[in-house]
Symmetry: D2
Subunit: 316 residues, 4 copies
């Protein structure tokens, strides 16, 4: 067998925030091109990013936003200090929580509930009502909390994704105990910078923008870079830069693709305005909604304006 | 002894996010009027808020922002759904981390380090360099991680505030291991709505504002409510409303006091513009810097404009 | 008869930009309260303003805007340097022009046409087509041009309002020769500052605003004083301040009445922002259209916001 | 001599708003390339524009702005309806007025003063003080008023430029009688569209922009097209479009040259935003002041942003 054939047959690796049985695995299941590839479970977001940068993984699937708890700050902050990584797709996963325990445990026996703090926040109302005396043992993930039930007896039950019982010998004590029945988590597929997904008319562009220091109204000015080109934002989230209180960077999802003239001009505007702007990629929206640029900011209008300008410059 | 005398002599209670030995205790130590009062340690932010609402505590001290990890989302979200609570003061506490262990433990023996995830994020660089093989056991607070060292041997060391060794029989293995030597946490003092601190010229006003739905440019319009009155923002932080992805509320600290005309007009502007705006209070800035309203927006200018208007209306 | 009775029976005087037979007379005819009063024809706008200031006239009717030629700059500039004068009403007069001549003159005999430069601009197309060799003799008004035909033979014909033939022994050579068949002139009724017309929901407020010097974006900031309160402008016209090139004042008509909260707050905003703002009055719109304030800026919303603020300040 | 050689040697013609002896002639004297060319005096602004369009003149010099009286509306309106004409330069002329009369006339004999209405407005204060009983006879220009003194005796004196006595047998009765001693008139040189003056760093770009109909805040949006690219305006003047009251076009002078990236992007933004935008040219400023684009909007910053974008699009 030739090395070339060997290369061709080699499977690509997709890392994902594990362990097995977490919601991230459900996001990975939505990635068509990851079917039949290697799936590699990692312990935290930074490890997934490191896999991509080192080439150990072709791509990684990590959570980026949760409709209840907000931005997953570890992801936002890790991306902000990483060069050369891009987003290639986004995926929405409905978030439902079950209470699981070792076989033989019944609800009234539960004293200590282990789970990730985010999952705990989403189920605290149910737990307080049904287990008023329970204590919470934080875990690094819902799946880790469930798995640990089989390793030790620090906790009596775990809050985890319904699919967890497919992976571990646990039983479900209560279903769908989350407060918000419409909760979703948004995941992204990241990889090294490379050819971007083609524009589809239903796209999103993500950037991280720092504001000029000590300039009142800088946020307003930054937003006008989008508004002047009719580009709508679907998300804006502030994160502290971390060097001192009062300095923020903004994680922004704008409607449209870098191949759209309105978006590319807005990006250049940000680049001039901001001391640091990080482009994270253009990719199809998970909600499949159309990305419309307000006003007269279609590609055709941009092209018309450019040829008008060209004529003017030629003295016509 | 009359009941009245008894009432008068009864000490007020200040709840704080405990346990003893956390950074919140250092913030509480800055609250002059809490000297000699009862100090009540609570397990989480919601419990502190509940103490205030039920009257169990007169006031509570809770963390609100950390220069490294950003807004303490539990506080932001709890305040957003609470009526009738106000902020009465803010306090800055330098954040330095030590590594502590049971007496007899030496650095090279440490395999598992327990601490709160935020503290872990701030010390991971040092831990990775000096304890490359360590595992992290999350805890609900740095103090809880330290206290647990004396209860069980799940962890070998804890990352905690330097003062922790005053409360527990632990010894310090390494000092000041945090990445950011200027890190600070900002705490607030909350209480039931009542008379506000007097304006000092160095004040801050906090609000939580929801944006009108599905209106492109709504954030920009909201910011213009401040800009049109020359009011600068010292902090803006988005948090998901939680009913579905894509809906945000904004936690805002504006410079100035509700008694300042520029601020009160901006607040009324927000009230008209926003489907929901929550006033959290006006209180002196911890950094003691002057709160200047840009442009001609002093109280004197506002008063001049009001008497001019009055004259015009009187037909003069 | 007592002086007092005499005073009571004395008729009020309405000055108007004359002479008799101009369009201003048609505007005066729309002023209900001027029926049966003294009508005093004056030679120029400043004289009309002087009549009002000196008390010689109770009110004066002067042109302020012409849909073809723009602002009547003499009026705009005279008002800008006058204190204590207010606008009490506005009136729209359709502008149609006829060519008139001495009896016996026929069209082909006309060599020289006299009229006011504004009227000439509006009829030049017809005159060029029908009297290709004509010369233009400028006059101070269309009526003066017509009257002069009977005094001397410098001109053979005049362009004037159709009603001119009621005042002078002239005949009409051609009707409705203006280029723009929808042309209108807008007139205002001015008087000394005093009680304003009551708000009708269909009102207009006029101001003259200077911009702060040498501040890029000052015009934008000024417009935001209106926008932040949802007040729409129906007219904005720049005029040079006159001390040097590059300095402008803006004559602005905003929708709404000073009794509307949105308008009064915007006025106070202008007063703080601008080095000089002149209030010219609130009065019913001639076009009878409703003056809607954009967004949530009704009086009810303003009152709600004010009582909300009052409660907050009371510590509730 | 061949016709071709003849053509080559033929002098170019510069039309100017005459007659001889007006301020426009002083502007023409500032045009270096017009030295030794044919100078053609025309009767009104439209004739000058027609000369340029028909090719009768290579260029024309016309007044565009007067620091006392504002925009010369005939010029603004004529340019607004003309295609294919460009501004090639601007010139500032100090405006001083003298009172001139036929030899033998003394001041106290003067009953009727003839002059252009603009000049009359600027000298009315002096005339009222020194000739309290005088009448005003309007003329099409100051020079025409002066020339007519020798043709007929309708007027006894004329207000005109000091140089008028070089052209006509008149004598000066009083010097520098204008109210504003710093008055200036700004003139422009127009020609058919062709190669533009090179950028000098001290340039100006003129456009005429219509606003989208019935869109509150359209003026603000238009101004943001400049602001988002840091382009300052040195002049904005509204003129009625003329089809009905309430519709305006804006004559704008922006700092910078179409060859400056900030200006060209702003122009394209206007082209998309506005139903009609007319480019009048980029040319050196008469006041020789530097045209700075606010913020980070230099050509270098634009080029950096463009190459950054190019790299991003290439997937790097």
């Amino acid at each position: 067998m030739s090395p070339r054939a060997s290369n061709t047959s080699a499977k690509k690796t997709y890392s994902y925030l594990g362990p097995e049985g977490t919601f991230t695995e459900l996001a990975l299941a939505q990635v068509a091109e990851a079917k039949g590839a290697n799936h590699r479970s990692v312990a935290h977001v930074q490890e997934a990013i490191d896999d991509v940068i080192s080439g150990r993984a072709f791509r990684a699937i990590i959570p980026v936003e949760n409709s209840v708890e907000g931005g997953v700050s570890a992801t936002a902050d890790a991306l902000a200090i990483t060069e050369n990584v891009r987003i290639y797709g986004e995926y929405l996963v409905p978030v439902t929580f079950d209470l699981v325990a070792r076989p033989g445990t019944v609800l009234k026996d539960v004293r200590t509930v282990s789970t990730h703090p985010v999952a705990y926040a989403q189920t605290r109302a149910w737990l307080s009502a049904n287990l008023s005396q329970h204590a919470h043992l934080p875990a690094t993930s819902t799946a880790a909390a469930a798995a640990a039930l089989l390793d030790n007896d620090f906790a009596d039950a775990a809050v985890a994704a319904p699919t967890i019982v497919k992976h571990y010998g646990l039983k479900t004590l209560a279903r769908n105990i989350g407060e918000n029945k419409n909760a979703q988590t948004r995941f992204i597929q990241i990889g090294l910078a490379g050819p971007m997904p083609e524009p589809t008319g239903r796209d999103k562009t993500s950037v991280i923008v720092e504001l000029p220091t000590d300039r009142p109204g800088a946020l307003l000015e930054m937003l006008e870079q989008f508004a002047a080109r009719g580009v709508n934002l679907s998300r804006i989230e502030s994160r502290p830069i971390g060097d001192r209180l009062g300095r923020y960077r903004f994680n922004i999802d704008a409607q449209g693709h870098i191949a759209d003239s309105a978006v590319s001009e807005a990006l250049m505007g940000l680049h001039r305005f901001s001391p640091k702007v990080l482009f994270l990629g253009s990719y199809p929206r998970a909600d499949k909604q159309k990305s419309v640029h307000e006003g007269n900011n279609s590609n055709v209008e941009f092209a018309d304006a450019a040829s008008w300008l060209k004529q003017l410059k030629a003295g016509k």
